[in-house]
Protein backbone atom coordinates (compact mmCIF):
# COMPACT_ATOMS: atom_id res chain seq x y z
CA UNK A 1 0.00 0.00 0.00
CA UNK A 2 1.29 3.45 -0.92
CA UNK A 3 2.43 5.77 1.87
CA UNK A 4 0.69 8.78 0.33
CA UNK A 5 -2.21 8.37 -2.01
CA UNK A 6 -4.30 10.82 -3.98
CA UNK A 7 -7.52 9.34 -5.30
CA UNK A 8 -9.50 11.15 -8.01
CA UNK A 9 -8.49 14.59 -6.77
CA UNK A 10 -10.44 17.45 -8.27
CA UNK A 11 -10.01 21.09 -7.41
CA UNK A 12 -11.86 24.11 -8.71
CA UNK A 13 -11.09 27.80 -8.22
CA UNK A 14 -14.47 29.23 -9.20
CA UNK A 15 -15.00 27.97 -12.75
CA UNK A 16 -11.35 27.08 -13.17
CA UNK A 17 -10.73 23.33 -12.96
CA UNK A 18 -7.12 23.23 -11.76
CA UNK A 19 -6.81 19.56 -10.76
CA UNK A 20 -8.60 17.02 -12.91
CA UNK A 21 -9.04 13.48 -11.55
CA UNK A 22 -5.49 13.26 -10.25
CA UNK A 23 -4.49 9.80 -9.06
CA UNK A 24 -1.07 9.47 -7.53
CA UNK A 25 0.70 7.07 -5.20
CA UNK A 26 3.97 7.79 -3.40
CA UNK A 27 6.06 5.20 -1.59
CA UNK A 28 7.61 5.77 1.83
CA UNK A 29 11.06 7.38 1.87
CA UNK A 30 10.92 8.53 -1.76
CA UNK A 31 11.77 11.99 -2.99
CA UNK A 32 9.13 12.67 -5.60
CA UNK A 33 9.06 15.69 -7.88
CA UNK A 34 5.97 17.35 -9.28
CA UNK A 35 7.30 18.98 -12.42
CA UNK A 36 5.46 21.28 -14.78
CA UNK A 37 5.07 24.81 -16.08
CA UNK A 38 3.58 27.65 -14.01
CA UNK A 39 -0.15 27.28 -13.42
CA UNK A 40 -0.28 23.55 -14.19
CA UNK A 41 -1.61 22.63 -10.72
CA UNK A 42 1.50 21.12 -9.12
CA UNK A 43 1.67 23.62 -6.22
CA UNK A 44 -2.09 23.34 -5.73
CA UNK A 45 -1.78 19.58 -5.29
CA UNK A 46 0.99 20.14 -2.74
CA UNK A 47 -1.13 22.67 -0.84
CA UNK A 48 -4.06 20.23 -0.89
CA UNK A 49 -1.81 17.62 0.72
CA UNK A 50 -0.65 20.14 3.34
CA UNK A 51 -4.24 21.07 4.22
CA UNK A 52 -3.79 24.73 3.31
CA UNK A 53 -6.22 24.20 0.43
CA UNK A 54 -9.33 22.06 0.49
CA UNK A 55 -10.14 19.77 -2.41
CA UNK A 56 -13.41 19.82 -4.33
CA UNK A 57 -13.52 16.04 -4.71
CA UNK A 58 -11.43 12.96 -4.00
CA UNK A 59 -9.51 11.45 -1.12
CA UNK A 60 -6.03 11.94 0.32
CA UNK A 61 -4.39 9.45 2.67
CA UNK A 62 -1.07 9.62 4.49
CA UNK A 63 0.27 6.41 6.05
CA UNK A 64 -3.15 4.81 5.66
CA UNK A 65 -5.00 7.63 7.44
CA UNK A 66 -7.62 9.62 5.56
CA UNK A 67 -6.56 13.28 5.95
CA UNK A 68 -8.88 14.75 3.33
CA UNK A 69 -10.72 16.97 5.78
CA UNK A 70 -8.25 17.34 8.64
CA UNK A 71 -6.48 20.54 9.72
CA UNK A 72 -2.87 21.13 8.60
CA UNK A 73 -1.55 20.61 12.12
CA UNK A 74 -3.17 17.15 12.34
CA UNK A 75 -1.46 15.92 9.17
CA UNK A 76 2.12 15.87 10.51
CA UNK A 77 3.42 17.47 7.35
CA UNK A 78 6.36 19.90 7.15
CA UNK A 79 6.59 22.50 4.44
CA UNK A 80 9.28 24.71 2.93
CA UNK A 81 7.85 27.65 1.01
CA UNK A 82 9.16 29.44 -2.06
CA UNK A 83 9.57 32.77 -0.20
CA UNK A 84 10.99 31.09 2.91
CA UNK A 85 8.17 32.50 5.12
CA UNK A 86 10.41 32.86 8.15
CA UNK A 87 9.04 34.87 11.05
CA UNK A 88 10.90 38.21 10.80
CA UNK A 89 10.69 39.04 14.51
CA UNK A 90 12.23 35.72 15.60
CA UNK A 91 15.85 34.61 15.57
CA UNK A 92 17.04 31.51 13.73
CA UNK A 93 16.73 29.50 16.95
CA UNK A 94 13.24 30.85 17.70
CA UNK A 95 12.07 30.15 14.16
CA UNK A 96 13.27 26.55 14.31
CA UNK A 97 11.90 26.05 17.84
CA UNK A 98 8.42 27.32 16.92
CA UNK A 99 7.07 23.95 15.77
CA UNK A 100 8.49 22.19 18.82
CA UNK A 101 6.87 24.76 21.13
CA UNK A 102 3.56 24.09 19.40
CA UNK A 103 4.09 20.43 20.27
CA UNK A 104 4.58 21.52 23.90
CA UNK A 105 8.00 19.90 24.19
CA UNK A 106 10.16 20.60 27.22
CA UNK A 107 12.66 23.44 26.99
CA UNK A 108 15.66 21.12 27.25
CA UNK A 109 14.37 18.83 24.47
CA UNK A 110 13.72 21.86 22.29
CA UNK A 111 17.27 23.11 22.79
CA UNK A 112 18.76 19.72 21.83
CA UNK A 113 16.59 19.29 18.74
CA UNK A 114 17.12 22.86 17.54
CA UNK A 115 20.87 22.47 17.85
CA UNK A 116 20.73 19.20 15.89
CA UNK A 117 18.73 20.87 13.14
CA UNK A 118 21.07 23.87 13.00
CA UNK A 119 24.05 21.53 12.68
CA UNK A 120 22.31 19.55 9.98
CA UNK A 121 21.75 22.60 7.79
CA UNK A 122 25.21 23.96 8.58
CA UNK A 123 24.13 27.19 10.27
CA UNK A 124 26.19 27.05 13.44
CA UNK A 125 27.10 30.57 14.54
CA UNK A 126 23.89 32.06 13.13
CA UNK A 127 21.62 30.95 15.98
CA UNK A 128 20.84 34.47 17.16
CA UNK A 129 20.62 36.10 13.74
CA UNK A 130 17.32 37.46 12.43
CA UNK A 131 16.07 36.45 8.96
CA UNK A 132 16.68 39.97 7.61
CA UNK A 133 20.38 39.53 8.28
CA UNK A 134 20.71 36.22 6.43
CA UNK A 135 21.32 35.57 2.74
CA UNK A 136 18.65 33.88 0.63
CA UNK A 137 20.43 30.53 0.85
CA UNK A 138 20.79 30.78 4.63
CA UNK A 139 17.14 31.74 4.99
CA UNK A 140 16.11 28.74 2.97
CA UNK A 141 18.27 26.48 5.14
CA UNK A 142 16.54 27.88 8.24
CA UNK A 143 13.19 27.16 6.58
CA UNK A 144 14.36 23.60 5.88
CA UNK A 145 15.57 23.14 9.47
CA UNK A 146 12.26 24.51 10.78
CA UNK A 147 10.32 22.05 8.62
CA UNK A 148 12.34 18.92 9.52
CA UNK A 149 12.96 19.58 13.22
CA UNK A 150 9.51 18.25 14.13
CA UNK A 151 10.23 15.05 12.14
CA UNK A 152 7.12 15.24 9.95
CA UNK A 153 5.75 12.21 8.12
CA UNK A 154 5.99 14.08 4.85
CA UNK A 155 8.20 16.99 3.80
CA UNK A 156 6.75 19.31 1.17
CA UNK A 157 9.07 21.61 -0.76
CA UNK A 158 7.24 24.21 -2.86
CA UNK A 159 9.81 25.56 -5.35
CA UNK A 160 12.19 26.21 -2.46
CA UNK A 161 15.19 27.08 -4.62
CA UNK A 162 13.61 29.23 -7.31
CA UNK A 163 14.67 32.52 -5.68
CA UNK A 164 18.29 31.44 -5.23
CA UNK A 165 21.19 31.97 -7.63
CA UNK A 166 22.33 29.07 -9.83
CA UNK A 167 25.54 28.17 -7.99
CA UNK A 168 24.00 28.15 -4.52
CA UNK A 169 20.96 26.33 -5.88
CA UNK A 170 23.10 23.39 -6.97
CA UNK A 171 24.70 23.18 -3.52
CA UNK A 172 21.30 23.32 -1.82
CA UNK A 173 19.87 20.68 -4.14
CA UNK A 174 22.52 18.25 -2.97
CA UNK A 175 22.12 19.36 0.62
CA UNK A 176 18.35 18.80 0.58
CA UNK A 177 18.77 15.41 -1.06
CA UNK A 178 21.38 14.35 1.49
CA UNK A 179 19.24 15.44 4.46
CA UNK A 180 16.21 13.70 2.97
CA UNK A 181 18.17 10.46 2.60
CA UNK A 182 19.63 10.79 6.09
CA UNK A 183 16.25 11.26 7.75
CA UNK A 184 14.32 9.02 5.36
CA UNK A 185 11.45 11.50 5.20
CA UNK A 186 9.04 10.99 2.33
CA UNK A 187 9.37 14.22 0.38
CA UNK A 188 7.51 15.95 -2.41
CA UNK A 189 9.40 18.58 -4.35
CA UNK A 190 7.65 21.02 -6.66
CA UNK A 191 9.61 22.67 -9.43
CA UNK A 192 9.31 23.97 -12.97
CA UNK A 193 13.00 23.34 -13.61
CA UNK A 194 13.55 20.02 -15.41
CA UNK A 195 17.27 19.93 -14.58
CA UNK A 196 16.47 20.32 -10.88
CA UNK A 197 13.87 17.56 -11.15
CA UNK A 198 16.38 15.24 -12.82
CA UNK A 199 18.98 15.83 -10.08
CA UNK A 200 16.69 15.60 -7.07
CA UNK A 201 14.09 12.97 -7.80
CA UNK A 202 13.51 9.27 -7.35
CA UNK A 203 10.32 9.68 -9.33
CA UNK A 204 9.07 12.52 -11.51
CA UNK A 205 5.38 13.26 -12.10
CA UNK A 206 5.02 15.59 -15.04
CA UNK A 207 2.02 17.92 -14.76
CA UNK A 208 0.20 19.77 -17.49
CA UNK A 209 -3.11 21.63 -17.22
CA UNK A 210 -4.20 19.87 -14.03
CA UNK A 211 -3.42 16.31 -15.13
CA UNK A 212 -0.38 14.08 -14.79
CA UNK A 213 1.04 13.65 -18.29
CA UNK A 214 3.67 11.11 -17.38
CA UNK A 215 5.31 9.49 -14.35
CA UNK A 216 8.53 7.59 -13.98
CA UNK A 217 12.17 7.69 -13.01
CA UNK A 218 14.10 10.75 -14.26
CA UNK A 219 15.91 8.76 -16.93
CA UNK A 220 12.74 7.03 -18.05
CA UNK A 221 10.78 10.25 -18.38
CA UNK A 222 13.70 11.88 -20.16
CA UNK A 223 14.38 9.14 -22.66
CA UNK A 224 10.82 7.94 -23.25
CA UNK A 225 8.43 10.88 -23.34
CA UNK A 226 4.93 9.66 -24.01
CA UNK A 227 3.39 12.89 -25.22
CA UNK A 228 4.39 15.90 -27.28
CA UNK A 229 4.20 18.09 -24.14
CA UNK A 230 6.49 15.73 -22.18
CA UNK A 231 9.01 15.70 -25.02
CA UNK A 232 8.99 19.48 -25.33
CA UNK A 233 9.07 20.22 -21.62
CA UNK A 234 11.59 17.78 -20.30
CA UNK A 235 14.14 17.26 -23.04
CA UNK A 236 14.12 20.13 -25.57
CA UNK A 237 13.23 17.43 -28.08
CA UNK A 238 13.00 18.14 -31.80
CA UNK A 239 9.32 17.49 -32.49
CA UNK A 240 8.63 16.95 -36.17
CA UNK A 241 5.56 15.70 -37.93
CA UNK A 242 5.42 12.21 -39.38
CA UNK A 243 5.47 13.71 -42.89
CA UNK A 244 8.59 15.79 -42.11
CA UNK A 245 10.30 12.75 -40.62
CA UNK A 246 9.68 10.71 -43.75
CA UNK A 247 10.86 13.62 -45.90
CA UNK A 248 14.25 13.81 -44.20
CA UNK A 249 14.86 10.08 -43.72
CA UNK A 250 13.27 8.88 -46.94
CA UNK A 251 11.28 6.14 -45.17
CA UNK A 252 7.67 5.24 -45.91
CA UNK A 253 4.81 7.00 -44.08
CA UNK A 254 3.56 5.48 -40.80
CA UNK A 255 0.50 5.90 -38.62
CA UNK A 256 2.09 7.97 -35.81
CA UNK A 257 1.50 11.70 -35.63
CA UNK A 258 4.86 13.12 -34.51
CA UNK A 259 8.44 12.03 -34.03
CA UNK A 260 10.59 13.27 -31.15
CA UNK A 261 14.38 13.27 -31.40
CA UNK A 262 16.69 14.46 -28.63
CA UNK A 263 19.24 17.04 -29.88
CA UNK A 264 22.10 15.15 -28.24
CA UNK A 265 21.01 11.82 -29.79
CA UNK A 266 22.08 13.06 -33.21
CA UNK A 267 25.65 13.07 -34.45
CA UNK A 268 27.03 15.71 -36.76
CA UNK A 269 29.98 15.20 -39.13
CA UNK A 270 31.57 16.72 -42.21
CA UNK A 271 31.69 13.45 -44.10
CA UNK A 272 29.14 10.65 -44.17
CA UNK A 273 29.63 8.11 -41.43
CA UNK A 274 29.93 4.45 -42.25
CA UNK A 275 26.51 3.03 -43.08
CA UNK A 276 25.15 1.13 -40.08
CA UNK A 277 22.06 -0.92 -39.57
CA UNK A 278 19.32 0.81 -37.54
CA UNK A 279 20.76 4.29 -38.20
CA UNK A 280 19.31 7.10 -40.25
CA UNK A 281 21.75 9.39 -41.99
CA UNK A 282 20.92 12.55 -43.94
CA UNK A 283 22.54 15.57 -45.48
CA UNK A 284 21.97 18.98 -43.80
CA UNK A 285 23.08 22.62 -43.86
CA UNK A 286 24.14 24.51 -40.73
CA UNK A 287 21.86 27.54 -40.23
CA UNK A 288 23.42 28.91 -37.04
CA UNK A 289 24.76 27.81 -33.69
CA UNK A 290 24.50 28.89 -30.06
CA UNK A 291 26.80 28.18 -27.17
CA UNK A 292 25.18 26.83 -23.98
CA UNK A 293 28.35 26.66 -21.90
CA UNK A 294 29.69 23.15 -22.38
CA UNK A 295 27.21 22.37 -25.14
CA UNK A 296 27.03 23.79 -28.68
CA UNK A 297 23.57 23.77 -30.22
CA UNK A 298 23.50 23.74 -34.03
CA UNK A 299 20.38 24.65 -35.95
CA UNK A 300 20.50 22.66 -39.17
CA UNK A 301 18.11 22.44 -42.09
CA UNK A 302 17.24 19.19 -43.82
CA UNK A 303 14.79 19.33 -46.74
CA UNK A 304 13.25 22.54 -45.31
CA UNK A 305 12.92 20.94 -41.86
CA UNK A 306 14.81 22.65 -39.02
CA UNK A 307 16.46 20.48 -36.38
CA UNK A 308 18.59 21.23 -33.34
CA UNK A 309 21.71 19.14 -32.78
CA UNK A 310 23.71 19.31 -29.53
CA UNK A 311 27.43 18.69 -29.52
CA UNK A 312 29.76 18.70 -26.51
CA UNK A 313 32.04 21.72 -26.73
CA UNK A 314 35.25 19.70 -26.48
CA UNK A 315 37.21 21.00 -29.48
CA UNK A 316 37.82 24.41 -30.92
CA UNK A 317 36.42 23.36 -34.27
CA UNK A 318 33.05 24.92 -35.10
CA UNK A 319 30.90 24.12 -38.10
CA UNK A 320 30.36 27.34 -40.04
CA UNK A 321 26.96 28.74 -40.87
CA UNK A 322 25.99 27.50 -44.35
CA UNK A 323 28.39 24.54 -44.12
CA UNK A 324 27.15 21.19 -45.49
CA UNK A 325 27.19 18.43 -42.88
CA UNK A 326 25.84 14.94 -42.28
CA UNK A 327 23.51 14.05 -39.44
CA UNK A 328 23.10 10.51 -38.19
CA UNK A 329 20.70 9.20 -35.56
CA UNK A 330 19.88 5.75 -34.26
CA UNK A 331 16.40 4.48 -35.16
CA UNK A 332 15.45 3.81 -31.55
CA UNK A 333 16.15 7.46 -30.66
CA UNK A 334 13.38 8.58 -33.04
CA UNK A 335 10.38 8.26 -30.78
CA UNK A 336 6.86 8.09 -32.16
CA UNK A 337 4.56 10.23 -30.00
Amino acid sequence: MAYISFENINKYYGENHVLIDVNLEIEQGQLVTLLGPSGCGKSTLLRCLSGLESITGGKITIDGVDVTNTDPKERKVGMVFQQYSLFPNMTVTENIAFGLKMKKMSKSDIEIKVLEAIEMVDLLGKEKAYPANLSGGQQQRVALARAIVTRPKVLLLDEPLSAIDAKLRKALQLSIKQIQRELGITSIFVTHDQDEAMIMSDVIHLFNNGVIEQSGSPSNVYTNPKTKFAAEFIGHYNIISSEQFHRITGTANSVFENVAIRPEAMEISLTPLEEKENFYQFHAVVVNHLSHGNVLRYNVEVNKVQLQVDVLFRSFYLYENGQHVYISVENRNCLAI
Binding site: K73, M79, Y130
Partner: protein, 265 residues
Protein backbone atom coordinates in the same frame (compact mmCIF):
# COMPACT_ATOMS: atom_id res chain seq x y z
CA UNK B 1 29.56 68.75 -0.83
CA UNK B 2 27.55 71.81 -1.91
CA UNK B 3 24.44 69.71 -2.10
CA UNK B 4 24.97 68.42 1.44
CA UNK B 5 25.51 71.96 2.83
CA UNK B 6 22.41 73.35 1.12
CA UNK B 7 20.29 70.46 2.35
CA UNK B 8 21.56 71.07 5.90
CA UNK B 9 20.61 74.76 5.67
CA UNK B 10 17.12 73.82 4.50
CA UNK B 11 16.70 71.38 7.39
CA UNK B 12 17.90 73.98 9.92
CA UNK B 13 15.48 76.56 8.52
CA UNK B 14 12.57 74.13 8.70
CA UNK B 15 13.50 73.20 12.28
CA UNK B 16 13.67 76.87 13.23
CA UNK B 17 10.30 77.52 11.60
CA UNK B 18 8.77 74.67 13.59
CA UNK B 19 10.47 75.35 16.92
CA UNK B 20 10.38 79.16 16.95
CA UNK B 21 6.71 79.52 18.01
CA UNK B 22 7.33 77.08 20.85
CA UNK B 23 10.46 78.92 22.00
CA UNK B 24 8.62 82.24 21.94
CA UNK B 25 5.68 80.74 23.81
CA UNK B 26 8.08 79.36 26.42
CA UNK B 27 9.85 82.74 26.76
CA UNK B 28 6.51 84.48 27.11
CA UNK B 29 5.52 82.06 29.88
CA UNK B 30 8.57 82.82 32.04
CA UNK B 31 8.33 86.63 31.98
CA UNK B 32 5.75 88.86 33.57
CA UNK B 33 5.81 91.49 30.80
CA UNK B 34 6.70 91.54 27.11
CA UNK B 35 5.53 94.86 25.78
CA UNK B 36 8.83 96.08 24.33
CA UNK B 37 11.62 94.39 22.38
CA UNK B 38 12.89 92.43 25.36
CA UNK B 39 10.70 90.83 28.01
CA UNK B 40 10.89 91.81 31.68
CA UNK B 41 10.37 90.12 35.05
CA UNK B 42 11.76 86.58 34.85
CA UNK B 43 9.53 84.25 36.89
CA UNK B 44 8.34 80.66 37.25
CA UNK B 45 5.25 81.79 39.12
CA UNK B 46 2.88 80.88 36.31
CA UNK B 47 4.29 77.35 36.15
CA UNK B 48 3.85 76.98 39.89
CA UNK B 49 0.26 78.23 39.70
CA UNK B 50 -0.71 75.95 36.84
CA UNK B 51 1.08 72.83 38.08
CA UNK B 52 -0.45 73.21 41.53
CA UNK B 53 -3.93 73.72 40.09
CA UNK B 54 -5.94 70.54 40.77
CA UNK B 55 -8.22 71.25 37.80
CA UNK B 56 -5.26 71.30 35.44
CA UNK B 57 -3.92 67.98 36.70
CA UNK B 58 -7.36 66.39 36.39
CA UNK B 59 -7.72 67.76 32.86
CA UNK B 60 -4.29 66.32 31.94
CA UNK B 61 -5.32 62.91 33.28
CA UNK B 62 -8.63 63.16 31.37
CA UNK B 63 -6.76 64.06 28.18
CA UNK B 64 -4.36 61.15 28.50
CA UNK B 65 -7.23 58.74 29.19
CA UNK B 66 -9.40 59.90 26.29
CA UNK B 67 -6.38 59.78 24.01
CA UNK B 68 -5.26 56.28 24.90
CA UNK B 69 -8.52 54.42 25.61
CA UNK B 70 -10.07 55.02 22.13
CA UNK B 71 -6.81 53.89 20.54
CA UNK B 72 -6.80 50.66 22.57
CA UNK B 73 -10.48 49.92 21.87
CA UNK B 74 -10.28 50.80 18.20
CA UNK B 75 -7.03 48.88 17.59
CA UNK B 76 -8.43 45.77 19.29
CA UNK B 77 -11.65 45.88 17.28
CA UNK B 78 -9.85 46.57 14.00
CA UNK B 79 -7.31 43.78 14.61
CA UNK B 80 -10.13 41.31 15.25
CA UNK B 81 -11.89 42.51 12.09
CA UNK B 82 -8.66 42.23 10.12
CA UNK B 83 -8.13 38.71 11.44
CA UNK B 84 -11.47 37.68 9.93
CA UNK B 85 -10.75 39.59 6.70
CA UNK B 86 -7.19 38.36 6.18
CA UNK B 87 -7.78 34.75 7.18
CA UNK B 88 -11.33 33.99 6.09
CA UNK B 89 -12.85 36.70 3.90
CA UNK B 90 -10.33 38.82 1.95
CA UNK B 91 -13.19 39.88 -0.31
CA UNK B 92 -14.71 41.86 2.60
CA UNK B 93 -11.75 44.24 2.66
CA UNK B 94 -13.17 46.66 0.10
CA UNK B 95 -16.47 46.99 2.01
CA UNK B 96 -14.71 47.43 5.35
CA UNK B 97 -12.46 50.04 3.79
CA UNK B 98 -15.50 51.94 2.53
CA UNK B 99 -17.15 51.80 5.96
CA UNK B 100 -13.98 52.93 7.68
CA UNK B 101 -13.60 55.88 5.33
CA UNK B 102 -17.02 57.34 6.20
CA UNK B 103 -15.71 59.25 9.27
CA UNK B 104 -13.41 61.20 6.92
CA UNK B 105 -16.48 62.76 5.38
CA UNK B 106 -18.11 63.80 8.65
CA UNK B 107 -17.02 67.02 10.30
CA UNK B 108 -16.22 66.95 14.02
CA UNK B 109 -19.01 69.36 14.94
CA UNK B 110 -21.65 67.40 13.04
CA UNK B 111 -20.42 64.10 14.48
CA UNK B 112 -20.37 65.40 18.05
CA UNK B 113 -23.82 67.03 17.86
CA UNK B 114 -25.32 63.96 16.17
CA UNK B 115 -23.97 61.63 18.83
CA UNK B 116 -25.05 63.95 21.61
CA UNK B 117 -28.61 64.25 20.34
CA UNK B 118 -28.81 60.51 19.68
CA UNK B 119 -27.43 59.22 22.97
CA UNK B 120 -28.08 61.92 25.56
CA UNK B 121 -31.30 60.22 26.66
CA UNK B 122 -30.05 56.68 26.09
CA UNK B 123 -29.68 54.31 29.04
CA UNK B 124 -26.36 53.98 30.88
CA UNK B 125 -23.57 53.50 30.01
CA UNK B 126 -24.27 55.08 26.57
CA UNK B 127 -25.40 58.42 27.98
CA UNK B 128 -22.32 58.65 30.20
CA UNK B 129 -20.26 61.58 28.89
CA UNK B 130 -16.93 59.80 29.25
CA UNK B 131 -18.21 56.77 27.32
CA UNK B 132 -19.66 59.09 24.67
CA UNK B 133 -16.39 60.98 24.27
CA UNK B 134 -14.32 57.79 24.07
CA UNK B 135 -16.61 56.09 21.56
CA UNK B 136 -16.80 59.25 19.44
CA UNK B 137 -13.03 59.38 19.27
CA UNK B 138 -13.09 55.69 18.27
CA UNK B 139 -15.10 56.76 15.21
CA UNK B 140 -12.77 59.67 14.49
CA UNK B 141 -9.57 57.62 14.56
CA UNK B 142 -11.06 54.52 12.87
CA UNK B 143 -9.95 55.37 9.28
CA UNK B 144 -6.35 56.01 10.35
CA UNK B 145 -6.17 52.85 12.42
CA UNK B 146 -7.74 50.61 9.77
CA UNK B 147 -5.61 51.93 6.92
CA UNK B 148 -2.42 51.87 8.99
CA UNK B 149 -2.89 48.32 10.24
CA UNK B 150 -4.04 46.97 6.87
CA UNK B 151 -0.98 48.46 5.15
CA UNK B 152 1.29 46.92 7.78
CA UNK B 153 -0.33 43.50 7.26
CA UNK B 154 0.02 43.80 3.49
CA UNK B 155 3.69 44.72 3.85
CA UNK B 156 4.61 41.61 5.80
CA UNK B 157 2.34 39.33 3.73
CA UNK B 158 0.34 38.13 6.73
CA UNK B 159 -1.22 35.18 4.91
CA UNK B 160 2.16 33.68 4.16
CA UNK B 161 3.21 33.87 7.81
CA UNK B 162 -0.10 32.39 8.98
CA UNK B 163 0.29 29.47 6.59
CA UNK B 164 3.86 28.86 7.78
CA UNK B 165 2.73 28.91 11.41
CA UNK B 166 -0.16 26.57 10.59
CA UNK B 167 2.24 24.08 9.05
CA UNK B 168 4.18 24.15 12.31
CA UNK B 169 1.13 23.26 14.38
CA UNK B 170 -0.44 26.63 15.24
CA UNK B 171 -4.12 27.38 14.68
CA UNK B 172 -5.10 30.44 12.64
CA UNK B 173 -6.05 32.62 15.62
CA UNK B 174 -2.80 31.90 17.44
CA UNK B 175 -0.82 32.39 14.24
CA UNK B 176 -2.41 35.80 13.67
CA UNK B 177 -2.00 37.18 17.16
CA UNK B 178 1.27 35.47 18.19
CA UNK B 179 3.15 35.61 14.89
CA UNK B 180 1.63 38.30 12.68
CA UNK B 181 0.77 41.01 15.21
CA UNK B 182 4.28 41.16 16.77
CA UNK B 183 5.59 41.74 13.27
CA UNK B 184 3.44 44.84 12.77
CA UNK B 185 4.31 46.48 16.10
CA UNK B 186 6.10 49.34 14.38
CA UNK B 187 2.98 49.94 12.28
CA UNK B 188 0.83 49.86 15.42
CA UNK B 189 3.17 52.39 17.08
CA UNK B 190 2.90 54.79 14.15
CA UNK B 191 -0.88 54.47 14.16
CA UNK B 192 -0.87 55.06 17.93
CA UNK B 193 1.19 58.23 17.60
CA UNK B 194 -1.07 59.53 14.85
CA UNK B 195 -4.38 58.81 16.56
CA UNK B 196 -3.30 59.82 20.08
CA UNK B 197 -1.88 63.13 18.89
CA UNK B 198 -5.06 63.78 16.94
CA UNK B 199 -7.26 63.24 20.00
CA UNK B 200 -4.78 65.00 22.27
CA UNK B 201 -5.16 68.24 20.36
CA UNK B 202 -8.93 68.10 19.82
CA UNK B 203 -11.18 70.75 21.31
CA UNK B 204 -14.38 70.68 19.26
CA UNK B 205 -15.64 67.18 19.98
CA UNK B 206 -14.76 67.03 23.65
CA UNK B 207 -16.17 70.51 24.25
CA UNK B 208 -19.51 69.67 22.66
CA UNK B 209 -19.91 66.21 24.16
CA UNK B 210 -17.97 66.53 27.40
CA UNK B 211 -18.97 70.14 28.13
CA UNK B 212 -18.79 70.90 31.80
CA UNK B 213 -19.02 67.20 32.68
CA UNK B 214 -15.63 66.24 31.35
CA UNK B 215 -12.77 68.70 31.06
CA UNK B 216 -9.58 68.12 29.06
CA UNK B 217 -6.47 70.29 28.74
CA UNK B 218 -7.75 71.87 25.52
CA UNK B 219 -10.85 73.08 27.38
CA UNK B 220 -8.71 74.18 30.30
CA UNK B 221 -6.50 76.11 27.88
CA UNK B 222 -9.53 77.74 26.30
CA UNK B 223 -10.62 79.05 29.70
CA UNK B 224 -7.12 80.30 30.51
CA UNK B 225 -6.92 82.24 27.24
CA UNK B 226 -9.39 84.75 28.70
CA UNK B 227 -7.56 85.01 32.02
CA UNK B 228 -3.83 85.35 31.38
CA UNK B 229 -1.56 85.11 28.35
CA UNK B 230 1.31 83.76 30.43
CA UNK B 231 -0.87 81.08 32.05
CA UNK B 232 -2.16 79.87 28.69
CA UNK B 233 1.44 79.80 27.41
CA UNK B 234 2.39 77.60 30.36
CA UNK B 235 -0.46 75.20 29.51
CA UNK B 236 0.72 75.03 25.91
CA UNK B 237 4.34 74.33 26.93
CA UNK B 238 3.32 71.67 29.46
CA UNK B 239 1.01 69.99 26.94
CA UNK B 240 3.77 70.01 24.40
CA UNK B 241 6.10 68.43 26.96
CA UNK B 242 3.57 65.67 27.72
CA UNK B 243 2.97 64.99 24.02
CA UNK B 244 6.72 64.88 23.43
CA UNK B 245 7.20 62.48 26.33
CA UNK B 246 4.45 60.15 25.07
CA UNK B 247 5.90 60.22 21.55
CA UNK B 248 9.37 59.45 22.90
CA UNK B 249 8.06 56.43 24.81
CA UNK B 250 6.27 55.09 21.73
CA UNK B 251 9.28 55.76 19.55
CA UNK B 252 11.60 53.96 21.90
CA UNK B 253 9.21 50.99 21.98
CA UNK B 254 9.20 50.96 18.19
CA UNK B 255 12.97 51.12 17.94
CA UNK B 256 13.66 48.67 20.76
CA UNK B 257 13.01 45.56 18.70
CA UNK B 258 14.94 46.94 15.74
CA UNK B 259 17.89 47.83 17.97
CA UNK B 260 17.91 44.36 19.54
CA UNK B 261 18.09 42.82 16.09
CA UNK B 262 21.03 45.00 15.11
CA UNK B 263 22.90 44.25 18.34
CA UNK B 264 22.61 40.49 17.94
CA UNK B 265 24.13 40.60 14.46
Amino acid sequence: MKKSASSKIIIVLICLYLVLPLILTFLYSIFTEWNEVLPKGLTLRYYKDILLDGNFLISVIHTIIVSIVPFIICTTVVLLALYVIVVYHPEWDKYTQMLCNIPYAIQGVILAISILSLYVNAPQPFSNRFVMVVLTYCIVILPYIYRGLKNSLDTINANRLIEAAQMLGANKFYAFFAVVVPNILSGITIVAMLSISMVFGDFVIVNIIGGSYFQTTQMYLYKKLFQSGQASSVVIVVMFGIALFMSAIMNSLKNKGRQNRKETN
